[in-house]
């Protein structure tokens, strides 16, 4: 998939993180051979791009020449979650960042409700941001009224049900502009939330989160 002209949502993939993670895993493996786990389209990161980055970092990929190039007696270890940076480990970096843009803003009064089924009602007058990402892009519906996205320097709670292609964030007295970016997760060494926190708040494996987002969102490589 290519990035749509409208840039409403994206999974941005940091290939240097994959290369660096690969190098860390190779160093830690000593004499053992590290093999990239490329299932599920490289956990949603895109198998072609990931293969090149992982090989760059010294990791092996299973292909026809595999046994010849690694030697018959080698001991193998598979690199999956660690390669994509899905575990909290000071030496590893998450490769995927998921974000979407604010496509609408609105202020509602106390007592007014939001989204299907009116499952959330504003306790007081508040500002809302409509963000262009939903369960069809992989943002689980169980995040309704539970999960948060980072927007304008703070975590903002999803209020009301996550819809197929949109969700609403509660900003309280703060405000946002159309075009502002809301981040689901990214690199927690900066300001972004961590994928493992997002995953555990939904009781899902991080590998599932990135695989599902990565298969539905336009991917951008950096």
């Amino acid at each position: 998939m290519t990035l749509s002209g409208s840039h409403i949502h994206r999974a941005s993939i940091n290939l240097s993180a994959i290369r660096d993670n690969a190098a860390v895993l190779v160093r830690r493996a000593g004499s053992r051979v590290v093999v990239a786990d490329l299932r599920a389209d490289a956990y949603g990161h895109g198998v072609t791009a990931v293969t090149a980055a992982a090989v760059d970092g010294g990791v092996f990929v299973r292909d026809i020449d595999f046994t010849a190039s690694t030697g018959r007696d080698a001991e193998f270890i598979s690199a999956g979650e660690a390669l994509y940076g899905l575990c909290a480990d000071r030496e590893l970096r998450p490769a995927m960042r998921v974000s979407a843009l604010v496509v609408g803003t609105k202020t509602i009064d106390a007592g007014e409700s939001v989204s299907y089924g009116y499952t959330w009602t504003a306790p007081s007058r508040t500002n809302l941001a409509l963000v262009g990402i939903g369960y069809a892009e992989g943002l689980d519906r169980i995040a309704s009224n539970v999960g948060s996205l980072r927007l304008g320097g703070a975590p903002r709670r999803i209020v009301g049900r996550v819809a197929m292609n949109a969700l609403v964030l509660d900003l309280g007295q703060d405000s946002a502009l159309i075009g502002d970016e809301a981040v689901v997760f990214g690199d927690p060494s900066g300001e972004d939330p961590a994928v493992w926190d997002w995953a555990s708040s939904l009781r899902r494996p991080s590998a599932e989160i990135v695989s599902v987002f990565g298969s539905h969102l336009p991917r951008v490589y950096r």
Partner: protein, 346 residues
């Protein structure tokens, strides 16, 4: 079949559309094909809808609208977009004769600026309580007035809203608000021919929600709202059957080659799948496979497991999965990876 496959029964889809069109008449029916036709495949589904006589398609975004035009959806079929980002290429969209669901003055002006050669088709959206997009009642007169002032570049085709379906009473309130917004627009001089409010449930259930056009997604794919309402109770047929091969059998457990990396929720332990007409329980879901407890049954590698289908061979429906997982069928079908093979039955 030795690979995970979503089989899409386009004949069932056309039958659903025919039943729904009959039910909502004299209102017209928009077939909603956003999100890759709810995971069913936007281009083949759109073509099937057009073959069934549908003249409105709900595409959500400009990208999908352009894709459908490039794939031969004729220009006398209106393609309705309403998720409009801050950086849209309206020139291409107007060239492709897409319809725009507009909520703000900013969107209206961006469309008018791009509309040099002809008139862009616009439907103004009023917020009647859902509080996603749509103009508030305070913003509404200015939005309508601006659309009318730009009438050399903008054709005001429709006025619309989207409702919460929280309860019948809440929907009644939304319908009232919609009527007031229509009245305000009329007083300002608007003369729209296409008023639309209802999606599947309200279109099916309420004559007073239908107006001139209804926008139907879920029901056209045979996905019912759950909570005891089955597709068959609505005389609708599930369109998608999801299958995957048995890739290993051992100690009363079968391994089926589809997993959470393909979009089957990792929380699906406990749901059932069907093998040779017999249901078995899913024990666990991994990245690219599921483990199924087959007990004493004789199961062979290479057999095809049905995860969900139309239920006629005893297999679960997507509704059963959704009820069990505490979600809705729409999430299960849209979650499936685009890498899963789609097989279309005419």
């Amino acid at each position: 079949m030795n690979t995970p496959t979503a089989t899409i029964d386009l004949a069932a889809y056309r039958r659903n559309l025919a039943r729904l069109a009959e039910r909502v008449a004299p209102a017209a029916l928009m077939a909603v094909v956003k999100a890759d036709a709810y995971g069913h495949g936007a281009v083949p589904v759109a073509r099937a809808a057009v073959a069934a006589g549908v003249t409105w398609l709900g595409v959500l975004d400009i990208e999908t609208g352009l894709e459908l035009r490039q794939n031969g959806i004729p220009r006398d079929v209106a393609l309705f977009t309403w998720l409009l980002g801050p950086n849209e290429d309206y020139t291409a969209a107007i060239d492709a004769e897409l319809d725009f669901g507009v909520s703000t003055l900013g969107q209206l002006d961006a469309i008018a600026r791009a509309s040099v050669a002809g008139r862009a088709r616009v439907h103004l959206k009023i917020d009647t309580g859902l509080h996603r997009n749509g103009a508030s009642i305070e913003q509404w007169p200015a939005l309508v007035a601006q659309a009318l002032a730009l009438s050399d570049r903008i054709e005001l085709v429709g006025i619309w809203t989207h409702i919460a379906e929280a309860s019948d009473d809440d929907d009644t309130v939304a319908i009232k608000r919609f009527r007031s917004a229509l009245a305000i627009a009329e007083r300002l001089g608007a003369n729209v021919t296409v008023r639309h409010l209802a999606a599947s449930a309200a279109a099916f259930g309420r004559a007073d929600a239908r107006f001139d056009l209804v926008r139907i997604g879920a029901f056209s794919f045979g996905i019912s709202p759950g909570g005891g309402v089955t597709p068959s109770s609505l005389l609708l047929e599930p369109v998608m059957t999801l299958t995957a091969p048995v890739i290993a059998v051992r100690d009363g457990l079968a391994t089926v080659g589809i997993g959470y990396g393909d979009g089957v929720p990792s929380s699906a332990a406990g749901v059932q799948v069907s093998l040779e007409g017999v249901r078995h329980r899913v024990v666990s879901v991994q990245l690219d496979q599921l483990t199924v407890d087959t007990g004493e049954a004789i199961v062979r590698t290479g057999e095809t497991a049905i995860l969900f289908g139309d239920g006629t061979d005893g297999e679960p429906t997507v509704q059963e999965w959704a009820d069990k997982l505490g979600t809705i069928g729409e999430e299960l079908v849209t979650r499936l990876s685009p890498r899963i093979h789609r097989r279309f039955l005419e």
